[in-house]
Symmetry: C2
């Protein structure tokens, strides 16, 4: 397998955007292509979770190719629910690693804020097991269930879970691409509107529009994809032996570390899928970045803040940067590429190795990606 | 690149089916896995064009993995509109060719007949350029436009275009998996209800339910994927220089022939994307199987019938076997695998090399696949 490098990285500001999804994807794609110095990539991989229902348009591989003026470049769409962005990165990675292509544009995004929240919730809810959905399961409801179980069985506290939001909003306040660029206090989090007991509004990521893009290349650049792993679990939560760890993350991390040839001890910075803040704590332990039982403690101690020992979600995470579904997995890698290259002004950390973690559905289709900076 | 072999092939009967889409996919998948003698493939690639709108379910990689009892096997969904099936074959092919996986289950399908036809038409229409859709373009309308142009500029006759339907229904009558298993007369075709002038009902493929599956393997078997190519064109038909040839097919065929190291002269049998019968004539010439201007003539002469010099759509094609969107590209390869292995009882042809041709959208994202039988 050839090495795969990140030749270009770009994203739109996340948030409530008036542009169409093709325009958002074009903004991100041209930033990445421009940085890479590539006008015409060998292939395009598009990630969008459900553009048909969110925007009324389909055939997104062809649509985006034509919209970019690259209508003759082979393009496909890849989807794995909320982790679709990194699934597209994987398909591009594999094509370059195999020597099939020398450069691949990966672009993902979602446009959601124009729809009423119940409709967005219905569309996202299609990624839940059909039987469990008939009992009223929504993503926040299932996350509430996980959180309650984690509090009872693993001793997570509401203060720890809330501190994740405080930290990630503090990071988002330093990120001009973030949906929310304001800090929040612990009190504000604990007093925010109840969404799915015990999860309150400020424990949940927002509904966001946005797009992100990478140009992957066989030619050596500043940052390399050292490992990428996918892990699965039953779409039916009722079939799982444990609600408070995600088997899909543990499996994905194992694959990624084996491919990279190193373990979590070398990771300096991470972007973690904190769609609900509980998930950041669970995932820090599932990826092996933090010993079991310690994620809450080190969060309260500030170790996962920018300036701490292991900065987590310097971008603000899904919580504050926002979560335009299929953009997210790519945006995590964009942020970490900037961090490894020293381009994250205002929130820059010291790092040579970075980890991105993305969750698809209720942890049914998860991914871990490891990035490594080339020696300067 | 390693060789990629077809270790198992299976499909459901196409038509109006009462089963759910996951059940249809499971039926096809277990036939293919059973034939391959593989219980647990290294990965699953799922093709479905728009299961969210057709069936209300999403997250199809995870959903199908769990439904098959393979919830820990890495699974992704791939989509390129109506050619999604073969796009999924390509992603599986690439993973094996690159040495990443030793076996991949590729399964695709669609469930459509439970919805009213205007709703199906609306959902399929999302693959048309948004601007052109505002002028009332539907797939049959655009195919009517192409047909009219082909009659005027290239001298295709309505009799030639209608004979494709007669031939493919005659083939479908010998295929127990076909949606339509009755012959039709030329008169019946020419007198059927007008759909999009000059295309009548019997020039158009039906709305079908069904699924098809392949197990791809690195281990030598009876049939090999000798070449696979993707070709693109603008999603906006108004940007094309010519309405009566498909640039996307020509490009895909070029890639596939180069990969295979041989040209159209070695092809003994073909499955061609005849969603509208005009497309069979156009595509026979675009793939180089038939010299320009000759497709109509040889169809009338019976050369493309089973028993003729170059049998085309022995399965009945999309016209008679049916067209459950993302199942189709896989079902073509299933049929050709059976033909190459001598398993197509009742419609068997003599063949060592076979070609499958799939169209995504209005020829925006097309594919050509070449299969070759191992020496017996």
């Amino acid at each position: 397998m050839s090495n795969v490098w990140i030749a270009g990285a770009g994203m739109t500001r996340f948030g409530k955007r008036d542009e169409t999804l093709p325009d958002l994807m074009a903004e991100a794609a041209f930033l990445a292509l421009g940085e890479a110095g590539i006008e015409c990539p060998d292939a395009i991989v598009v990630a969008a979770m459900n553009p048909e229902e969110f925007t009324g348009e389909g055939n997104y591989g062809s649509l985006i190719g034509t919209h970019l003026g690259l209508s003759r470049v082979p393009a496909l769409r890849v989807e794995t629910a909320t982790s679709s962005g990194v699934a597209a990165v994987y398909v591009g990675f594999a094509a370059i690693a195999a020597g099939v292509h020398a450069s691949v544009l990966v672009v993902g995004g979602e446009k959601m804020t124009h729809l009423p929240t119940p409709r967005v919730s219905e569309i996202i809810g299609r990624s839940i097991d059909p039987h469990e959905r008939t009992y009223g399961s929504t993503m926040p409801a299932l996350a509430g269930l996980v959180t309650r179980a984690a509090i009872h069985r693993r001793g997570f506290t509401l203060r720890e879970i809330s501190q994740v939001a405080v930290k990630n909003h503090a990071h988002g306040a330093r990120n001009p691409f973030a949906h929310f660029q304001e800090q929040v206090t612990l009190e504000a989090v604990l007093e925010s509107r109840m969404v799915a007991d015990p999860l309150r509004l400020f424990h949940c990521c927002p509904i966001s529009d946005g797009a992100a893009a990478l140009v992957l290349s066989a030619e050596p650049r500043a940052v390399r994809i050292a490992g990428i792993g996918q892990g699965m679990d039953s779409i039916a939560v009722r079939y799982r032996s444990d609600l408070t760890t995600f088997r899909a993350t543990q499996a994905a991390a194992g694959v990624a570390y084996r491919m990279a040839g190193f373990g979590p001890e070398r990771v300096d910075v991470a972007e973690i899928h904190d769609a609900f803040t509980t998930f950041e704590l669970i995932s820090l332990e599932d990826t092996g970045l933090v010993p079991t039982g310690k994620a809450g403690r080190i969060t309260l101690d500030g170790e996962t803040a920018v300036g701490g020992r292991l900065p987590v979600n310097p971008s603000g995470g899904l919580k504050a940067r926002g979560h335009p579904l299929a953009a997210t997995g790519i945006a995590q890698i964009v942020e970490l590429t900037w961090q490894l290259r020293g381009l994250a002004a205002g929130r820059q950390v010291e790092a040579r190795v970075a980890l991105a973690h993305s969750i698809g559905g209720l942890a049914t289709n998860n991914w871990v990606t490891l990035l490594e900076a080339a020696p300067r």
